[in-house]
């Protein structure tokens, strides 16, 4: 049996988020309370199918610093947008000065990095032509490019690497941030996830017939698929952070059955949730809210409900925020961890935006609207292609 020793010293001291709902804490809390969705079919992308997308506004207008101009693409612009939101960059620099640059690490999760720039470059190549000599994979489509950008922009010299496990990427990045702190290798780790809208993801999910033509409706009886979004979400995981929220537990597992479809009984997902509870030294009854991965596909929502019922309890308050921000893929784990942070700090149970008729076969305690509620421990689920499962426990 794998052992899951307690997670003791991983505080979450700062965070930032940009999604289609806007930039930062106040935009997202307001949208949560209003039950507003940022999904829109007025996305401006040249697609051959109808869909609603969660596109972050005003990314093109961000001034990109000349000293790191080689990294300029949509994904790094999203990362930059998150840095300059809610005073995050200033907080990061203070942390670097406090602990020393070599004690500060970076672990990010992404599924596509700057592939959107590669798509544009590739499209411009004449038939049988060569890649432009000045195109740099290191600065754009390499999955480590955003992490490298942040290392160079912020002057972090501690360990840095990138997790890429599809839609569980940035949840697993938080796991690694915690491991780096608990191993004593780092005192603080900038962690999170970034993924931008790109043709590879959009046409890819369309090929799997998983894209909804309407704003996605997780947990709804009439749900018919995903809406894709983009996001950048960062957290600082820091040691000795008394008085802050804790990443009190995490659990990981593999389905080992299919690249894109979970086993119907949700056994892999429930294994990850149980491991997270064990590491947090909590029982199922200690959990006040579950942020569902909740992609709004028929199979995924059904499987997750079984996993939560098995590992937590059937009536636990739960919701998916993907009806508000879309499925932000590799950034989803971190973005939704930030939502959980807001829920804990502001004592709100996020609503399940877009819900009309709750599927009676799923969890019963899912509300379309945001509710007030004192929360102490919450779980956030993330699952990805390759049968990659990750559950986080955040506590206050």
């Amino acid at each position: 049996m794998l052992q899951h020793p307690r997670t003791n010293n991983c505080g979450i001291t700062h965070s930032s988020i940009v999604t289609c709902l806007g930039y930062g804490r106040s935009s997202h809390l307001l949208a949560l309370r209003e039950g507003r969705s940022g999904l829109s079919n007025n996305h401006g992308l040249d697609l051959q199918f109808d869909c609603y997308l969660g596109k972050v506004p005003d990314v093109e207008g961000i001034g990109f610093p000349s000293r790191v101009a080689d990294f300029d693409n949509r994904a790094t612009r999203l990362a930059l947008a998150a840095l300059v939101t809610d005073g995050f960059e200033q907080a990061v620099l203070k942390i670097r000065n406090r602990w020393g640059a070599d004690r500060c690490g970076i672990v990010l999760g992404t599924s596509t990095s700057g592939v959107e720039m590669l798509e544009k470059t590739y499209k411009a190549i004449p038939e049988n032509g060569a890649m432009p000599e000045d195109y740099s994979t290191r600065h754009h489509d390499n999955l480590h490019a955003i992490t490298t950008f942040l290392q160079e922009y912020l002057g972090f010299t501690g360990p840095g690497y990138t997790i890429s496990t599809a839609c569980s990427s940035s949840a697993k990045a938080l796991v690694d941030a915690c491991q780096l702190v608990e191993s004593g290798l780092c005192d603080a780790v900038l962690t999170g996830g970034v993924d931008s809208l790109c043709m590879t993801s959009l046409y890819g999910f369309e090929s799997l017939e998983l894209m909804s033509k309407v704003p996605c409706r997780p947990c709804d009886a009439s749900r018919d698929g995903l809406s894709i979004g983009e996001a950048a979400a960062f957290m600082i995981v820091e040691r000795d952070a008394d008085g802050y929220l804790k990443l009190s537990g995490y659990g990981e597992s593999s389905d080992g059955t299919s690249m894109s479809t979970p086993p119907p009984d949700g056994s892999g997902a429930s294994q990850a949730i149980k491991a997270a509870l064990e590491r947090a030294n909590l029982t199922p009854n200690d959990i006040d809210y579950v942020n569902l991965h909740g992609t709004a596909t028929i199979v995924n929502d059904s499987t997750e409900a079984k996993a939560v019922e098995t590992a937590v309890y059937r009536s636990v308050p739960a919701s998916s925020v993907k009806g508000a921000i879309g499925h932000t893929l590799g950034a989803a784990g971190a973005a939704e961890a930030v939502f959980c942070q807001y829920a804990l700090e502001d004592e709100v149970i996020p609503g399940n935006t877009g819900l009309i008729d709750l599927d009676p076969a799923l969890l019963p305690n899912v509300s379309e609207s945001c509710r007030n509620g004192q929360l102490r421990h919450v779980i956030s689920n993330s699952f990805g292609f390759g049968g990659s499962n990750c559950a986080l426990v955040l506590s206050r």
Binding site: L143, A145, G160, T165, D176, Q179, L180, G256, G387
Partner: protein
């Protein structure tokens, strides 16, 4: 980071001319990995032929490495797959498809385009239920892979199968994504020694020494680059070559120092 002791039960290498540890021991010659035929594919045992045909050279390479260390590891083993590019061939296929009027991406290609396609396919082939991670740190991918493996072993107190792999991309991406030779290397690592243990690896975090990593590599032609070659000094040390401490870079300033004790 305090010095971590990991115990190595098996190392392996897969390349066009060196298939497994025994062949590596027989040659100990980096030149053997350099020349290869373009249609070379790693050979698998764990997947039926029909499935193998659907998989990219990168996935075949990674699974071939995992197969060679799998039998020394128990069922409850976590896995770390590390690659500086991952699914480069599939990316090329998708980009070509996006350039057509129909923009028709094959569903199987898309689900195998993710960086963790190799690790995901391995979990299916071997029925793995434990944590599996897929990481990338560009030219520092080998160091990051060892770092993650050592943390996973310590945090879960479990064995870890570490798979390092990269394979060349097709034209035109081959010009911008410079991986010139296929190479996969695997390590079966455990928190405690076993009857099969061949070496103890004492790993610590240290400043980058002078000379820089790669300096201790045999002479490799410029057109034979693969970031996984960074692990060769460790392989040669394990094979018995006298070596000082092995260094695996994590960035330009810091990396992992590994002391090898043969057992």
């Amino acid at each position: 980071m305090k010095q971590n002791s990991l115990f190595l039960d098996r190392a392996t290498i897969v390349s066009p001319h060196v298939n497994g540890w025994d062949e590596f021991l027989a040659s100990l010659n980096c030149q053997d990995v350099i020349s290869f035929e373009e249609d070379w594919r790693a050979q698998l045992e764990s997947l039926p032929m029909r499935s193998r045909r659907r998989l990219s050279p990168q996935i075949l390479l990674a699974i071939s490495v995992a197969e060679k260390i799998h039998e020394t590891l128990p069922k409850e083993t976590a896995w770390v797959f590390a690659s500086s590019v991952g699914e480069g061939e599939t990316l090329n296929v998708i980009l070509d498809a996006l350039g057509t009027p129909e923009k028709a991406i094959q569903p199987l290609r898309f689900q195998n385009s993710v960086h963790n396609a190799a690790s995901g396919q391995w979990t299916i082939a071997a029925g793995v239920k434990c944590p599996v991670t897929s990481i990338n740190a560009h030219n520092y991918t080998v160091g990051a892979g060892f770092l993650k493996a050592s943390m996973q072993i310590k945090s879960e107190n479990c064995p870890v199968g570490l798979v390092l792999y990269d394979a060349p991309l097709p034209y035109p991406l081959s010009a911008s994504h410079k991986i010139n030779i296929p190479l996969g290397v695997g390590f079966a690592l455990k928190p405690e020694p076993s009857a099969n243990t061949i070496a103890e690896l004492k790993i610590s975090y240290c400043k980058t020494p002078n000379p820089m990593p790669f300096a201790s590599l045999p002479q490799i032609p410029e057109n034979s680059y693969n970031p996984i070659l960074a692990v060769f000094p460790l392989l040669k040390c394990l094979a018995g070559s006298p070596q000082e401490d092995i260094f695996l870079g994590l960035n330009k300033d810091y990396g992992l120092c590994i002391k090898v004790k043969q057992l």
